[in-house]
Amino acid sequence: MIDYRVSPETQARLAEAAEIGRKELRPAGLEADGRGAPIPPDDAFFERCLARGEGGTVWAGPDGKRATGPRRSVVERLLLSEELAYWDRGVIIAMPGPGLPENNVLSMGTDEQKERFLGPFLARDRPRWACFGMTEPGAGSDAAAIRTTARKDGDGWILNGAKCFIGGASRSDWILVQATLDPTKGRGAQRAFFVEAGTPGLGGFKIEKKMGLKAYESTSFTLDDCRVPAENLLGGEARYESSAGFKTAMRTFNAGRPQIAANAVGMARAALDESIRFARENDLLGRDRVRDRIEAISRKVRKARLVCLKAGWLADEERPNIIEASMSKALAAQMAQEATTLGLELVGLVGARGDHLIEKLYRDVKAMDIVEGTGQVQRMIIARTLVGLPR
């Protein structure tokens, strides 16, 4: 039956997230932005994350019996993502945990790999990170064109190449590196490898200076005759008889799109609330132009949020959501940019000072139209289904 309500349990979780957001995420994000550098790995902030039970894995343990907490619907996860990003999107990405590649390991990894690579996250002895390295200086949207090579060498693999913009790479226990056995063979020749921190040949870490989302590091690195054992090929050799390797990588992105959209919605909502607060404090709410802007922002946020939740609901129903997932991201990312733009116009010159939350949101939110498939790529995906746009 049609129902747009959010369950009391979800409401309680959102309230909890808001509390953490207010106390921890927002201040940490503003501080990192002011400093212009990521939160250092040894910052007490991360210890507190662990103490709250964050930074672990949803892997159920070697015997499959470990309690992994309540299973959350995609809709609930999206709402939580929205709430957390409302407080600070950069800080959520900075949080410890197996991050982006966790899903790949869960869906494709061998039992031994789950234990080796996710197992340590159960310990919570110290903050740990992992990350997914796909993008290269020469290939982003066109992920099939990556040039990092993997060459069989005895019972191991030798990796060579360069990656860029990889979130948390220099602090990660391991990086799931996407590489190709033959650059001329496209997607089917791609494989993913666990490259552990400290492996000889993995180096040249350079933390990029970026416009926003400064709380977490986006890092370039190189693989220079970097040797990894056979056991580090995700899923083991047998799994790669078909073109499944590339598909798994893409599946991470599929699951991620509405998530990014939800982040954008949260950030836009933050801009809206800041706009209203500013207008109230400065006695501007009576002005038509101010009210028009607030109305426009809130209408945009509302519709983007609904499109995003629909994509999540379809996923919960296990119904195809490829169009909706892309739609949500294409719409929400642009909407949020607009919302922050209008918000800045509302606060006026205060916004140019460089220390106002809306100005930070204006910079942070740009990335939402770039990461995990740019706005153009989302439109390509939609158009393929909608009007048969050729690949």
């Binding site: 066109d142 990029e208 986006s218 116009e345 010159l349 916004g351 910079r363 740009k366 770039i370």
Partner: protein, 360 residues
């Protein structure tokens, strides 16, 4: 007759300006941004070129080339680095504001207050400030100016202009952009008003010129972001061809260029009207609104075309995006612009009919 070709003198000035922008403003722009000021060597060499006094009247030792020349020049310099363009310009719109409200003698007071333009003067629209006037004393708070020091301030409101040459206090702030020119909250606490020029009509023209001044700086940034991203898109390959050759980007780049060219004509025409002594207030307000409106999307689109690379400080487009937004907030921003433009339009029966001496 309708003719858009600059005369030889202006063409020469612009050629010089573009060369200087390319050779002297672009390469050190990240250093200037980090250091929050331009290098001494650059200011010294700039003084010799004499570009900053292009629209200063001949009686005040300027080139007397007028408003249109000035907006052309601003655009050329801002296309290199807008922060540096501001830092290198001693008067900004402050001098012409006094010229419009009090004539040459008024403008001369500013030349004197800045030691002949060796120190900067700031222009502030009262709509961007909290202002209190008490007899001859001015108390004022501006959230952000692109400066950390100045010899004088020209404040313009509906009634006219005021010149203040002492008591300016700057609290540095990070600034969303234009850091090469510095960035601070500006305050006056009962500072003495050195001169007051009551002249509502002049004030309206001063505001029009100030808007055009900033609009042309904005055009420079947008022009830089358009050309940089279009060039990049022809180099960068994805899916087997230059990204510019995917229709989605080709059309985006095309639309950006259309928006820019159209806005530029609107700004230039309004500036031409200033020089002709024609009414220019509505046109300037409308031109400013147009520039702000296109900047809302052109800035972020420049970043978008570079994808993840655009988000990184290795490329200038993220700087363009921030600086375009910061500049767009000046002069009361978009709202004051459409308010001013709209007010005159509804008072006219046929606002776009051909006017005085065939002027559009």
């Amino acid at each position: 007759m309708f003719d858009l070709e600059p005369d030889d003198e202006l063409a020469l000035v612009l050629e010089t300006a573009r060369r200087l922008a390319r050779d002297e403003l672009v390469p050190p722009m990240r250093t200037h941004e980090a250091e929050r000021s331009i290098s001494k060597a650059l200011s010294a060499s700039w003084d010799e070129v004499g570009l900053s006094t292009l629209d200063v009247p001949i009686e005040l030792d300027g080139a007397g080339m007028g408003c249109l020349a000035r907006v052309h020049l601003n655009e050329a310099l801002a296309e290199g680095d807008v922060g540096a363009a501001i830092a290198l310009d001693p008067y900004g719109p402050a001098l012409v504001a006094l010229l419009e409200t009090g004539g040459t003698d008024a403008a001369r007071t500013l030349v004197e207050a800045t030691d002949g333009g060796t120190r900067r003067a700031l222009y502030v629209d009262a709509r961007d400030a909290v202002v209190r006037e008490d007899g001859n004393r001015l108390t004022l708070d501006v959230a952000w100016v692109a400066a950390e020091d100045a010899a004088a301030l020209v404040l313009v409101d509906d009634a006219g202009a005021r010149l203040v040459a002492e008591g300016l206090s700057f609290d540095p702030v990070r600034g969303a952009g234009l850091r090469a020119a510095g960035g601070a909250r500006l305050r006056l606490e009962g500072a003495p008003i050195a001169h007051r020029f009551e002249n509502p009509d002049g004030a309206a023209r001063a505001r029009a010129r100030a808007r055009l001044h900033t609009a042309s700086l904005l055009l420079g940034i947008l022009s830089a972001t358009c050309s940089f991203s279009a060039d990049y898109a022809q180099e960068r390959q994805a899916f087997g061809r230059p990204i510019a050759h995917h229709q989605a980007l080709a059309f985006l780049i095309t639309d950006m260029r259309i928006a820019l060219d159209a806005a530029r004509l609107v700004v230039h025409e309004a500036a031409w009207r200033v020089d002709q002594g024609l009414p220019c207030e509505t046109e300037a307000a409308s031109a400013w609104a147009e520039c702000i409106e296109i900047a809302r999307t052109l800035g972020p689109n420049g970043v978008q075309i570079l994808g993840g690379h655009g988000f990184m400080a290795d490329y200038p487009v993220e700087k363009h995006m921030r600086e375009a937004r910061a500049l767009s907030l000046l002069h009361g921003g978009f709202d004051a612009a459409i308010e001013d433009a709209g007010r005159a339009l509804v008072a006219t029966a046929s606002p776009l009919a051909l006017g005085q001496e065939g002027a559009l």
